[in-house]
């Protein structure tokens, strides 16, 4: 396939000129398409699944992170195609597309995926998406209308995803965590699927995050099914995660070079997606061990002997998971937290009150607060009992302040909303004069 700059312009044209264009391209892909959608983990899961497909011998066509609306998908195709609309060698390709959760229903009949991976559904940018319930209903209605066979890959632990199995026409591969030892000791405030379709309230024997866990409805009997693809014996470390990956009757130990339980879910979604696509367990394992972080998601940079890690957090559950990951670090560290309020971040910054920043209080953390809405974040942190050492709206100056406060060998954890992450990543790349050292080696095969 030809590789171009990947700007949104060809997509803009394609989208305006021919809405059905995506369909005509997608049909050319010999091994069909897998879609990945959900609130959190789309980019990392797509990244891992693309790596698994490559390890399994497929050539892959994937969209870029952040280009997950119809325009981005069209742009990916137009970029790769000849002017006459043909994708060269298309017969040898598998499409792997991360799709915005609200855009997924409209793209389903165009992309006609073989496999659709559903990760989770959390409150996120209500100013843009509207209510969480309406996103879930959109998925459900689109699947009900869709008459072709489709393999569903479903998170068994998130009821709003798991219940998509009802009325499904194709095969289902479910994934989930089978280790109550990593459950939360108490429910978080940000739980978004409290009620069963029958109207009763879900009860949980274990909650892993938000409303994700071992759920059941005592009124109608709907309950979490034991997942086919599961993680057991999960050991959460500061920089890596160890777990036993179980796929049916097979199991093997994984050292995932990504931190946090949320990364385990992304790894499981990749493994379940790979299984649904018919990839070997060896291909999956290779991806989980080797692929490393996706763009801006736990990428690591060495800056003058300091260890800088970039973590994306753009909604309450995502931020809770990131906080849970970094407070497990058993040494003092500097936290550079950035809150922007652009369209891609969500213009409403209220959501920081739904995240449990209180977990930072009393920890050996030096806090530097930045971003367009630094003052909002500083206030939130102060209310949570952690006073910022520095409040600096300018990203570059805030990064320098964080670096100045960290001694050689120390850690700086950067937690940022989407556009803030892009800014910091650019600064870090420029400052180090190099790519992130976890920059995936195969990134150039992505369109």
């Amino acid at each position: 396939l030809r590789r171009g700059g990947g700007t949104a312009l060809p997509g803009l044209v394609a989208n305006t000129v021919a809405p059905a264009l995506i369909g005509s391209y997608a049909r050319q892909l010999g091994y069909g398409t897998a879609t990945i959608t959900g609130t959190n983990g789309k980019t990392t899961t797509s990244h891992l699944l693309t790596a698994a497909a490559a390890a399994g011998g497929f050539r892959t066509l994937a969209n870029r992170s952040g280009s997950n609306l119809a325009r981005g998908v069209a742009s990916t195709f137009v970029d790769a195609a000849t002017p006459s609309g043909l994708l060269p060698d298309a017969r040898e390709y598998l499409g792997v597309f991360e799709l915005d959760e609200a855009a997924w229903p409209a793209l389903l009949p165009q992309l006609r995926p073989r496999v659709a991976v559903f990760l989770n559904l959390f409150r996120d940018q209500l100013d843009r998406y509207g209510e969480v319930d309406s996103v879930a209903e959109g998925w459900q209605r689109a699947l009900a209308r869709y008459r072709e066979p489709i393999g569903l890959v479903l998170n068994a632990d998130d009821p709003s995803v798991a219940l998509l199995a009802e009325g499904a026409r194709g095969p289902i591969v479910s994934f989930g965590v089978e280790d109550p030892d990593v459950a939360l000791s108490e429910a978080e405030h940000a739980a978004d699927a409290r009620f069963c379709r029958c109207g009763a309230t879900f009860t949980y024997s274990a909650i892993y995050m938000g409303h994700v866990g071992m759920w059941r409805c005592s009124a109608c009997g709907r309950t979490r099914q034991t997942p086919l693809v599961a993680a057991r014996d999960v050991r959460l470390g500061a920089d890596e995660t160890r777990f036993t990956l179980c796929v049916g009757s097979r199991s093997l130990g994984i050292i995932l070079p990504l931190a946090g339980l949320y990364s385990v879910y992304n790894a499981l979604a990749c493994a379940a997606g790979a299984y649904a696509l018919g990839l070997s367990l060896e291909a999956t394992t290779h991806a989980l061990l080797e692929a490393g972080p996706a763009f801006g998601r736990q990428e690591r940079f060495a800056v003058d002997g300091r260890y800088v890690r970039l973590l994306l957090a753009k909604n309450p559950t995502g931020l809770n998971e990131v906080l849970r990951t970094i407070i497990a670090i058993d040494q003092p560290f500097t936290l550079l937290a950035l809150l922007n309020d652009g369209i891609q971040d969500g213009q409403d910054v209220s959501w920081i009150y739904d995240a449990d920043l209180e977990h930072l209080a009393g920890r050996p953390v030096t806090l530097v607060v930045s971003g367009d809405r630094a003052e909002d974040l500083a206030l939130r942190c102060a209310l949570a009992g952690i006073e910022p050492a520095v409040v600096e709206r300018n990203t570059a100056r805030a990064l320098e302040a964080a670096l100045a406060r960290a001694s050689a060998g120390a850690r700086i954890e950067v937690v940022a909303t989407y556009t803030a992450m892009l800014e910091v990543r650019e600064l870090l790349a420029r400052r180090t004069g190099q790519q992130a050292y976890w920059e995936p080696a195969h990134s150039e095969v992505r369109a």
Binding site: D127, F195, Q347, D348, Y353, D376, L379, A382
Partner: protein, 255 residues
Amino acid sequence: MNASPRTIRVVTLYPDVMSVYADRGNLIAVQARCRELGIGCEVTRVGIGDELPRDADLLLIGGGQDREQRRIVDDLAAKGDTLREWAESDAAMLAVCGGFQLFGEFYRTAEGAELPGVRLFDITTVAPAPGMPRCIGDVLARSDVPDVGELVGFENHGGRTYLGPHAQPFARVRHGYGNNGADGTEGAVYRQAIGTYLHGSLLPKNPALLDRLILAALRHRYGPEVDVTAPRNPYAERAHDAAAVVARRRGRRNT
């Protein structure tokens, strides 16, 4: 060590289902400010089916998704008499978004059904006609309530609220939609009860309003002569000013 002889009793109503967009920040702000002022803050969480306590000095309720709001309607109606009594006795109240709508006369759904409200405010709310957009965006308003002044927040609501003849608006919007996008009013006030569409969260970023609600709660419990010496709240003031700049830049201008 300063003893804390004064304590306000706070009730947070349906905190799990009626806090879809960060309305718990209001409770967080009340608790933090009370700590700062040396005032005790006793919080009772009241869910669906739970009894209200005998009395409260400050009641908080937030907004929910449509499905969640339908779930609480009956339970809220059963609590209506008590809530109105509390309001008549000058308990402080803050009802945000869906909570504000349900503290009115009724909410008329898109299908034409009328969900009865608590009738604490003389307001009615109607679901938007098909094709009408939600009211979403930054808000800058000026409150009609003494000492509250400029307000900042973020609104996100479909329903349009109209004030009845006995209702007083809480504020006038300079930027934003407010109650209905047409008459420039925002929220409603009845005695010490305030209804509003402002998230943000509201109380953290509007320190004058926060202090006023705490003072009203103290006076409800200890009598009208009670006063508080309130130190400045610099983090809150800076966040307020920053949000005001954003609202002036990109909030819908109210003409």
